[in-house]
């Protein structure tokens, strides 16, 4: 087999190098993988759904087995979703797994992005992959929205209508853009077919292509790693691709599939039959989009009712929270590696990661923006919050309008200070304490001062002044660590003896968990 392939493709050289390639072990590097596996499952389940879905607005009268809607007028699209849910065997499970997978897909991308951000993994030479990744997030949002809208139910139809109004609000080209994108004034007969073509062809193809680039760049540039003894900028350490990493990766994929199957089987999601078919004259209340669009929904709800009228033209209210704000937001996210480079003046290659404390400015800004997005997402459910807290929704909105400005500033500042504080402590105490065994069986401490941190403490004399006070604390910490290490060593010796006995008896060529 190897010979046959190598004769034709010359695969042996590639395989020799690739099978021993180093891949990461740290859990935080698995977040992007989870997103990838969600995408695989989305394609699989989505293909099944596509065999039954009908993208047609044609009016039909429901005659299926779901009693409450029998005799109701609805679109053929909505009817096909009901048929898929109630009549196609395993159809409901597939649909629910698909929906849960889409939610997890975007959640995994978002958390992956936060990990990359807070550890500085986007810095040179990985700016290109940052841009590809943010593009994947945008494509994921588009895939989510178009898919969510396909069932043509009352809830998603309301969402499409809001999207139409947002597009309509764009200055100069808004009306034409909305009419061309939606095939005329809302609601148009063309829309479902277009959403369908985008959802099952254009967007997944783009996502697939972007994933290919994303992975190719990771393959080529190799992964980043956290600072630890023995980790250097010049090399990369990890599990070999074959067999260790492959086993773990396929195993993780299957577990992600398993968890999503459990969610899809046991936890109801998007029960479109309770919302009813879309009707432009009614609306469900409360109406929230899927979680990943909550921040835009919240921005629409919190924004003041400002519009601009000049020279007989109008920029209506939804433009600012619905178009300008997300555009600026994503522009900022796209450009962050370059903004940060400008702020810090640091254009060096980095393969060792920061921890959040290592760059208080970045951490503070990140926490502030994250808080802003979370408050906006809460505001997207202000009516639900209001009825939950038994407060009039107007007061919830007023309160959130204040919070959305105050809370990010406050938490961002706190994060900045806490990160600075933690870093300062480490600068004075030494980044880590390394214990070495001496010849007579005792322990000795080795303090490591990474060059960068020493340079920082020179730049910041006040940190050096605080160092004195912290020295005592650091010493006590080191003593405790020493005691722990001694306990650990005693235990390890015990286990070693036991393992030796076992090996003598059974001769198993495996290594147990504890020895790693």
């Amino acid at each position: 087999m190897v010979l046959w392939l190598d004769d034709r493709l010359g695969t042996a050289t590639f395989a020799r190098r690739s099978l021993r390639k180093a891949f990461p072990d740290h859990w935080s590097f698995m977040l992007g993988e989870i997103a990838l596996y969600c995408f695989v499952l989305l394609v699989l389940t989505g293909t099944f759904l596509a065999f039954f879905y009908v993208a047609s607005p044609r009016e039909v009268v429901y005659q299926g087995p779901y009693e409450p809607l029998r005799g109701a007028e609805m679109s053929a699209a909505y009817e096909s979703v009901l048929r898929l849910s109630f009549e196609v065997r395993a159809g409901l499970v597939m649909r629910q797994i698909h929906h849960w997978a889409s939610l997890l897909f975007l959640a995994a991308i978002t958390v992956h992005l936060l990990r990359i951000f807070f550890t500085g993994a986007f810095r040179r030479p990985r700016e290109i992959n940052w841009i590809v990744g943010v593009t994947l997030l945008l494509l994921g949002l588009a895939a989510g929205f178009t898919g969510y809208s396909l069932p043509d139910d009352l809830l998603s139809g309301t969402g499409v209508r809001i999207a139409y109004s947002i597009l309509l609000s764009v200055p100069l080209i808004g009306t034409w853009a909305a009419f061309l994108a939606f095939g005329g004034e809302f609601p148009s007969a063309e829309l479902l077919g277009r959403l369908y073509a985008m959802h099952i062809f254009l967007i997944p193809a783009a996502i697939g292509g972007a994933i290919a680039v994303h992975l190719a760049l990771i393959w080529h540039q190799k992964h980043t790693q956290f600072r630890a003894p023995g980790r250097r900028e010049e090399t990369v350490v990890g599990s070999p691709l074959w067999p260790n990493y492959s086993m773990k990766a396929v195993g993780l994929a299957l577990i992600v599939f398993g968890v999503l199957s459990l969610l899809g089987g046991l936890f109801q999601i998007n029960p479109v039959w309770t919302y009813g078919p879309f009707d432009p004259t009614t609306v469900s209340s409360p109406a929230q989009p899927d979680w990943y669009l909550g921040w835009i929904e919240g921005a629409l709800r919190l924004a003041p009712n400002w519009e601009i009228r000049t020279f007989g033209y109008r920029i209506p209210e939804p433009f600012f929270p619905g178009v300008l704000f997300p555009a600026l937001f994503f522009a900022g996210v796209y450009l962050w590696p370059f903004i940060e480079r400008r702020l810090t003046g640091d254009d060096h290659e980095h393969h060792l990661l920061d921890r959040p404390r290592d760059n208080p400015m970045r951490t503070g800004i990140g926490v502030a923006i994250l808080t802003f997005a979370i408050v906006l997402t809460l505001a997207g459910s202000n009516d639900v919050l209001g009825s939950f807290l038994r407060i009039p929704v107007e007061n919830v909105t007023r309160g959130l309008r204040v919070l959305v400005l105050v809370l990010p500033t406050l938490l961002g500042w706190v994060a900045y200070r806490v990160a600075g504080e933690l870093r300062g402590r480490e600068v004075s105490a030494g980044r880590y304490v390394v214990l070495t065994r001496t010849a007579d069986g005792g322990f000795a401490e080795v303090h490591e001062h990474p060059r960068r941190d020493v340079a920082r403490s020179e730049r910041e004399p006040e940190e050096a002044a605080r160092a004195e006070r912290r020295a005592g604390r650091a010493e006590r910490r080191a003593r405790r660590a020493l005691k722990r290490a001694e306990r650990f060593l005693r235990r390890a010796k015990r286990e070693e003896r036991r393992a030796a006995q076992e090996r003598d008896g059974t001769e198993r060529p495996w290594k147990g968990r504890g020895e790693r």
Partner: protein, 276 residues
């Protein structure tokens, strides 16, 4: 377990086998979403757990270390630059053809843009007009004409222009308030006889149907983004993100008691746009 490290792996694989067979049986018996999901989870999760346990417990845990080298050497860069320039010279030698090539590509690109126009018709006046004309009879969602006495004080009904029941832009809310309670300019008041007033049901913020009426406070509330409109003062926005009032539909009550329009809405309905 200590003596049989492969036992958990085998156990996980057996779970997968059993759950897989179980899935086939459940499907054959007619299917049941909850059991399907749970069995699928066990089958997939078991296999995943087996692979991870196998790797963790039975395979040597080795670490590999690789050199990083990303940027090419200076010679490589120079060679690449030279190769690029050598190809580029071919175009430099035929300036005229190169320019024509550029023009041809541009013309083709331009031609490819035109089909975008086929995607939808021109907006024209469609956003400025609805199906309401002077004398149009107001009907309910089933197309039945609406009589003025149907609407009691404090109640509300969604009406449409006759011939267009369910119309998205023609939908209007017919509301009766206490006679004389409306605070409208005289020309607008003439279109609201006997405390009966009609407003567009399409929110001027993002186009949702303004579905909630609080009769006590005479407020219309849009459930999407909580824009609130005061019915008594011409549906002026009092809270939320909407900045324009809901357009009024001037109506009259005919001698037959039916509600008729005196014309189209006072302003274009629905969310704002550039040309408005």
């Amino acid at each position: 377990m200590r003596n049989r490290p492969e036992a958990p792996v085998a156990l996980a694989l057996i779970c997968t086998i059993l759950a897989g067979l179980g899935l086939a049986v459940v499907y054959w018996l007619g299917g049941q979403p909850q059991i399907e999901g749970a069995l699928l989870a066990v089958a997939l999760g078991g296999l995943g757990a087996a692979l991870i346990l196998w790797e963790r417990r039975l395979m040597p845990q080795e670490q590999v270390e690789e050199e990083r080298e990303i940027a090419s050497s200076a010679e490589e860069r120079a060679a690449a630059q030279a190769a690029l320039e050598r190809g580029g010279e071919e175009f430099g030698r035929r300036r005229f053809l190169a320019r024509l090539l550029g023009a041809a590509a541009a013309a083709l690109g331009l031609a490819a843009l035109f089909p975008i126009r086929s995607l939808g018709r021109a907006p024209g006046l469609s956003l400025f007009r609805t199906a309401w004309r002077p004398g149009t009879i107001a009907v309910d969602e089933n197309g039945v004409p609406v009589g003025a006495e149907q609407i009691a004080v404090g109640s509300v009904l969604t009406v449409f222009p006759q011939g267009h029941p369910g119309s998205a832009d023609g939908q209007a809310l017919l509301i009766r308030v206490e006679d004389g309670a409306l605070r409208l300019p005289p020309d607008r008041l003439a279109g609201a006889p006997e405390g009966l007033v009609a407003y567009s049901k399409v929110c001027t913020h993002a186009g949702c149907p303004v579905g909630l009426y609080r009769a006590q406070t005479h407020q219309l509330l849009c459930p999407c983004h909580q824009s609130t409109f005061d019915v008594l003062s011409g549906a002026q926005p009092t809270f939320g993100p909407a900045s324009r009032p809901l357009p009024q539909l001037p109506i009259e009550i005919g001698s037959d008691g039916l509600v008729r329009a005196r014309g189209d809405f006072t302003e274009p309905v629905g969310p704002g746009f550039w040309e408005l």
